[in-house]
Amino acid sequence: MTAPLRGARVMVEKELLELRRSPLLLLSMISLPFTVVLMPLGLYAWLTHAAPEQAVDFLRDLYGISAEGGKAAALAALLAKNWLPMFLVLPIFLPILIAAQSVGGERERRTLEPLLATPVTTLEIILGKSVAAVVPSVFITWIAAAIFCGGIDWLALPHMPVGARAPLPDATWLFATVVLSPLLALFGNAIAVVLGSVVADPRAAQNLAGMTVVPLLGALVAQLAGRVSLGWRFYSVLAIATLLADIALVALAARLFDREKLLTRWR
């Protein structure tokens, strides 16, 4: 008698072992967070020295920044507000890199039939692959967010009044990273599993799944253009919508993962 979901645990171990042995995939998973963290930190370091007060005042007005503590605090609040959506792109995009290869990749490498020939259940396969895609992605997102917040604080505090509170993370950041990021990671993974189940080519599935970050990038651009202000209300609605989408997508993924069709049908 095997323990419940034991197959899922084996799938997670297998997926993570494969991930560790895939330097290019690891590199692609790390390069995006690396850019998302270092670029704004470099920009911040430069702006705190080079930006004229009038320019900072203009940005305060444009983005509705009301932070106390001078130029450094204002720029920190500015980056915190405007750059947060990029940290929400990460947990969507990173699981797609792994999960889009999962079902389609198994089919392409001809490992799907031997895998389906074992007693492992459909639920265990989907769960195992999902955990292996979501957990590292959330973990990387959290590390990137921690480095970003720590970096901003480290750069900002010397320019702020003694005893001033570190600008990051604020409540919105904590909500976005702790609550919203895992939900978005589940979303990215579920999209990738669904597309991987219906599209034969894993690369095509990955590209299609990658398109799901476009609305979030659009919101980022609209905010940078000063057209919208993404605040608590936006992130709360996004969290609820993502949760509902996750439930629907997981149900759809479970329905689409038809063992027989996966084995015998090519699109």
Partner: protein, 326 residues
């Protein structure tokens, strides 16, 4: 009770019939061949028996598990089957040992037990020296042997082998055949799906000829006599030649072609042909010399294909006539 009993199995894909009315049984400890051309439904039959796909109609019993149309995939059945898929199908970046351990654990073995059995099988299949190399760098023959090892990891009641030597070079083919021969000698229940007749002759007790549906089931040993058969074309009447040949001690049988069975008639050269069965190939010159000495005019002397091949080709011709295959 047989290890496998298939009753009127049928399966279509997108309206195209892949298999229909396939019935056969396999006894415990028997090596059973499934012979047929490409597209004959052999792989579909194996996938049904392995619990990977369900039949549209018909039923089967495999290792005590029942397979019915539309029934949910049966994990217990899959755990009783060792399936060698047509392509080895392993994870490229994992080593040979890691791959076996992963599949062993997916079969329900503990990590320790999976590792122990993987080590033993790697040693048995002469892969121990390559155990820690990534699967991607192994030769095709090694990959196939590893796939057979995977099929044995959980000590299944029934082993299904789908084209075990397809795409292998001659050396790897010989190794894999030897390996399957060892399994056969261990009295394991095996269904060997192939279109290599020599594999069937060497390994199987019985073979089913399949072309969408079952064409025939033959006892392989009854077809394979081990003697040497020769077709002799004559430019003179056959009666005298037959008397001469039948008087020779090393001639087991001599018949005019027209007297032989339908399968052989299908390949007859002309009506004056004789089919001669000799005790050994070395008797051919003596037989021909005796005919010449008796005044018989010989126009040709051609070795006859193996009886299994004759039967196979005749059944294929029948299947084509019936429109079962193109």
């Amino acid at each position: 009770m047989p290890a496998i009993e298939a009753h009127s199995l049928a399966k279509s894909f997108a309206g195209r019939r892949a298999l229909w009315d396939l019935s056969f049984s396999v006894e415990r400890g028997e090596v059973f061949g499934l012979l047929g051309p490409n597209g004959a439904g052999k792989t579909t039959a194996l996938r049904i028996l392995a619990g990977l796909i369900s039949p549209d109609s018909g039923s089967a019993q495999v290792a005590g598990h029942t397979i019915l149309p539309g029934a949910p995939s049966n994990a217990a059945l899959r755990g009783s089957i060792g399936l060698l898929t047509e392509q080895p199908g392993f994870y490229d970046r994992l080593s040979a040992r890691e791959n076996l351990v992963v599949f062993g654990k997916l079969q329900g073995l503990t990590a320790h037990e999976a590792d122990r059995r993987a080590t033993a099988l790697l040693a048995r299949f002469l892969l121990a020296a390559h155990a820690d190399r990534p699967f991607a760098v192994l030769s095709r023959g090694m990959k196939q042997k590893l796939a057979i090892a995977r099929a044995l990891l959980h000590e299944p009641a029934v082993i299904l082998l789908d084209e075990p030597t397809v795409g292998l070079d001659p050396e790897a083919t010989r190794e894999v055949r030897a390996l399957v021969g060892e399994l056969a000698a261990e009295k394991r229940t095996i269904v060997l799906c192939t279109h290599h007749l020599d594999e069937v002759e060497r390994l199987c007790a019985r073979a089913a000829f399949v072309a969408g549906r079952l064409l025939a089931v033959h006892e392989v040993k009854s077809l394979a006599t081990g003697t040497y058969r020769l077709r002799i074309g004559l430019d003179s009447p056959a009666e005298g030649a037959l008397r001469t040949l039948r008087a020779l001690p090393f001639v087991l049988d001599a018949q005019a072609e027209m007297a032989m069975g339908a399968a052989l008639r299908a390949n007859a050269l002309h009506s004056n042909d004789l089919l001669v069965e000799l005790r050994h190939a070395s008797s051919v010159p003596d037989a021909l010399a005796a005919l010449v000495a008796s005044g018989t005019r010989i126009s040709s002397a051609v070795p006859v294909r193996h009886p299994l091949e004759e039967a196979y080709l005749a059944l294929l011709a029948q299947a084509r006539d019936e429109g079962l295959i193109s």
